[in-house]
Symmetry: C2
Subunit: 124 residues, 2 copies
């Protein structure tokens, strides 16, 4: 998959993480070649943090790691889909998924499941 992935002009490919059991889409973030290589080698989701400019082992701080169950690539190779076993929650806000807000005619509504307290998990 490392050779088939089409990295963009910034050297990145998009990675979607989906809960292997429930099918819930948890998050989407970026990987560079090194992050993808490590993810495939270790079986632990490792992204590229665009804001920090570093490799980012998901769950490093929080313990909320994502173990790879299955890795897929799309037809044109620029989006990857990982089915994962998610510890705790994927979202830094404490929700299980980053997609905890739903569009309604009256505006966005939060309807996600809160699984942890970010203040407790990310405290130093």
């Amino acid at each position: 998959m490392l050779d088939e992935a089409k990295f963009d002009d910034k050297g990145l490919v998009l990675a979607i993480a989906q809960d292997a059991e429930s099918g819930e889409v948890l998050m989407a973030a970026w990987m560079n070649r090194e992050a993808l290589g490590r993810t495939l080698d270790t079986g632990i989701m490792t992204y590229w943090s665009r804001s920090r400019g570093t490799l980012w082992v998901k769950g490093e701080t929080s313990g909320h790691t994502q173990r790879v169950v299955e890795a897929r690539i799309d037809c044109d190779g620029d989006v990857l889909l990982f089915k994962v076993r998610q510890e705790g929650g994927a979202c830094h806000t404490g929700y299980r998924t980053c997609f905890y807000r739903k569009h309604t005619p009256a505006g966005l509504v939060e309807d996600g499941k809160r699984v942890f307290d970010p203040a407790a998990v990310y405290r130093r």
Copy 2:
């Protein structure tokens, strides 16, 4: 959602389409503000084609439209998740999903479900 979406420096936001019934992730593509507005107004998935530089009503040529069942936005607003009712197949290759290739130690393996013949659907 139109006001909460964070469009990038190219004016785009990523949209993931997920089968509302099976939970299968079908594809991921880009939307600009106009494409997102039309998608929300019409309930038919409308993307921005980066290669053609035009709005792209999914299924316009093939009939394989995607009807919006639910629209969600992620925590930082740059990825959207649409649960859709997919007619036919999402992928121009004839597969139900664009993620029809799975990573294995021996390389990528095609294991998707082929639901139409692209030569028949896209013929002029």
